[in-house]
């Protein structure tokens, strides 16, 4: 029997208040007419106006979006390949090293990853810019993608793939027509994870970006080091809003899909 005692109710209430109150306050203060945190000078949307007139922010947002789309796409392809290798390829030369290189970046401090990549780019004479940020982001997010995808591949029924091969599919067609549709949810969440990680990254991008390739987190960072900035509050509110809509939509879609699957399974079990 489950009982939700007063203790559990209190800890859940306090816990979620702690998680959400700071963000709620940030959103409230983004509509404050005054520049100061101390004074509430009435409701205003003027900081959103100044934000959208700020060319530097818009440029940085564009660079960030470009980097995030390209790097998460590369990361998804490479990460899915890596997951396939980890789960399916059995033993090969240097397998331990390979799986070590997949798991190590997940826990590597960002300062070390950033420093080491910068030193690589300098020693091969690659100019810092959008390209180096894409390379850096692809490398660490492909590891996250491969962890997400490989957990789906492990639970995957291999006989489906074997059936496709027996029925005359080439190995690539079996992957494209059978495996990929089944692991697609994991591949999509891997892409989303890589996209978010790339949007979010400050430390690695600080190391590997050049003067012409300032990303949004770098821009935010230089603004907030001086203290609270109402424009950043407005920007944060927009970003929190996008994420909230995205996460709620994703969970509704996955709930609807699992309900549909349940119905289909029940329908299949019923004798015709």
């Amino acid at each position: 029997m489950k009982r939700l005692s007063w203790f559990n109710v209190t800890s859940l209430t306090l816990g979620f208040a702690f998680l959400y109150l700071p963000m709620v306050l940030l959103i409230i203060y983004s509509f404050n007419a005054s520049k100061l945190v101390t004074v509430w000078a009435g409701f205003s949307t003027k900081w959103y106006g100044t934000l959208f007139q700020n060319e530097a922010f818009l440029d940085a947002a564009w660079v960030t979006l470009k980097v995030a789309v390209i790097s998460s796409t590369f990361a998804t392809v490479l990460g899915t390949m890596a997951a396939y290798v980890l789960v399916r390829s059995g033993r090969f030369w240097g397998r331990t090293l390979f799986s070590g290189m997949i798991y190590a970046p997940l826990v590597m401090p960002e300062v070390i990853t950033g420093l080491s990549l910068l030193l690589l780019f300098i020693s091969i004479g690659l100019d810092r810019g959008v390209m180096t940020i894409v390379l850096a982001h692809t490398t660490f997010s492909m590891c996250f993608v491969s962890v997400v995808v490989s957990s789906r591949l492990i639970s995957f029924d291999r006989s489906l793939e074997e059936a496709a091969l027996d029925l005359g599919c080439s190995a690539f067609d079996a992957f494209r027509l059978v495996t990929l549709p089944i692991i697609a949810p994991a591949v999509i969440s891997g892409w989303l994870l890589a996209f978010t990680l790339s949007l979010d990254d400050l430390v690695i991008a600080s190391f590997v970006s050049g003067p012409s390739s300032t990303t949004l987190p770098i821009k935010i960072w230089s603004a907030v080091r001086l203290g609270v900035s109402p424009e950043i509050n407005a920007l944060s509110t927009i970003m929190i809003g996008i994420v909230t809509v995205g996460v709620i939509t994703a969970s509704l879609v996955s709930k609807r899909n699992s309900l549909r699957m349940q119905r289909e399974e029940q329908a299949a079990e019923r004798p015709a």
């Binding site: 009982r3 306050l25 390829s89 420093l115 850096a136």
Partner: protein, 291 residues
């Protein structure tokens, strides 16, 4: 043939962009600082003999002579350790409450824990600047309540760093503990209570040991990244807050001393190897237990 290509592409990518960069860091940590740009002696053009002759441990010796570095390592370890314990104390009751909540709430509660993880880390840390500053929301609230007569200084102290770490890493603690508690069989608690345990003793003797793997996983997931943290101490901490991630960043960008920054990175990596290996062993044991 196709199998070789499938293995070779991600393998080559990781070798080039993950392993080789580390070897370069290692090499530069053993080289001299030169006045030319880039600020270290050339590495690739010399012969092998010159390369070996050029290696020295000067940078590592330097790290031991200036007490800034060992103090920074020690205080990073201390901050990471305490904030991990505090995250556990805050996170466990939440995970416990979630596992006890009615089945139909759980998916929503789970989503509420994951949602902050998708929002920008930088913004979540920044949100606390407006709360903790002298004129911030917290101080105004405390003054209004009459609990304090003048504003407390919290921002730019180590306390603010603790708050920042607990806040941003809380989901990493809650999720593995919740997963462990969710799998637990409730009849075990009932059995303990039937056999005369009080509710608290049953919690202590049954629930805690059964959620051990979740606790261990959560602690490592907080401790490992907290140790090399840069954003939180820079934004919330003051000049008195020493953390090695910040020292490395400043050594590199402000002092432009790349060999010393590399040596700092090599030592941080050596410190991290122990918890990383322990973490992987815990995960492996858990995976084996599930099979």
């Amino acid at each position: 043939m196709r199998r070789v290509a499938l293995i070779a592409v991600p393998y080559a990518w990781l070798l080039t962009l993950f392993l080789i960069p580390f070897l370069i860091v290692f090499k530069i940590s053993l080289s001299d600082m030169a006045l030319a740009i880039p600020p270290y002696t050339p590495t690739l053009n010399d012969g092998l003999a010159a390369l070996i002759a050029g290696l020295d441990f000067e940078n590592f010796v330097f790290l031991t002579t200036d007490d800034l570095y060992y103090k920074a390592y020690l205080s990073s370890l201390q901050i990471a350790l305490f904030s991990t314990l505090m995250t556990l104390l805050v996170g466990y009751p939440i995970a416990y409450g979630m596992a006890r909540a009615p089945q139909e709430w759980r998916a929503t509660l789970m989503m509420l824990v994951i949602l902050p993880f998708w929002t920008s880390f930088l913004i979540r840390v920044y949100a606390w600047v407006g709360i903790l500053s002298n004129e911030g929301v917290l101080n105004q609230f405390l003054l209004w309540l009459g609990l304090v007569s003048e504003p407390l200084t919290i921002l730019n102290t180590t306390t603010a760093v603790y708050i920042g770490i607990v806040y941003t890493y809380l989901p990493f603690m809650i999720l593995p503990i919740y997963a462990a508690l969710d799998r637990m069989d409730d009849s075990l608690i009932e059995a303990a209570e039937d056999l005369g345990c009080s509710r608290l003793t049953a919690f202590w003797l049954v629930t805690i040991p059964l959620s051990r793997n979740g606790i261990i996983a959560g602690c490592f997931l907080v401790f490992i990244p907290a140790l090399g943290e840069f954003v939180i101490p820079s934004l919330l901490g003051g000049s008195g807050t020493l953390m090695i991630g910040k020292v490395l960043f400043e050594e590199f960008f402000n002092n432009r001393d790349w060999p010393v920054a590399s040596a700092v990175a090599v030592i941080l990596l050596l410190i991290l190897i122990v918890p990383i290996v322990l973490f992987q062993r815990n995960q492996q044991r858990q995976a084996e237990a599930e099979q």
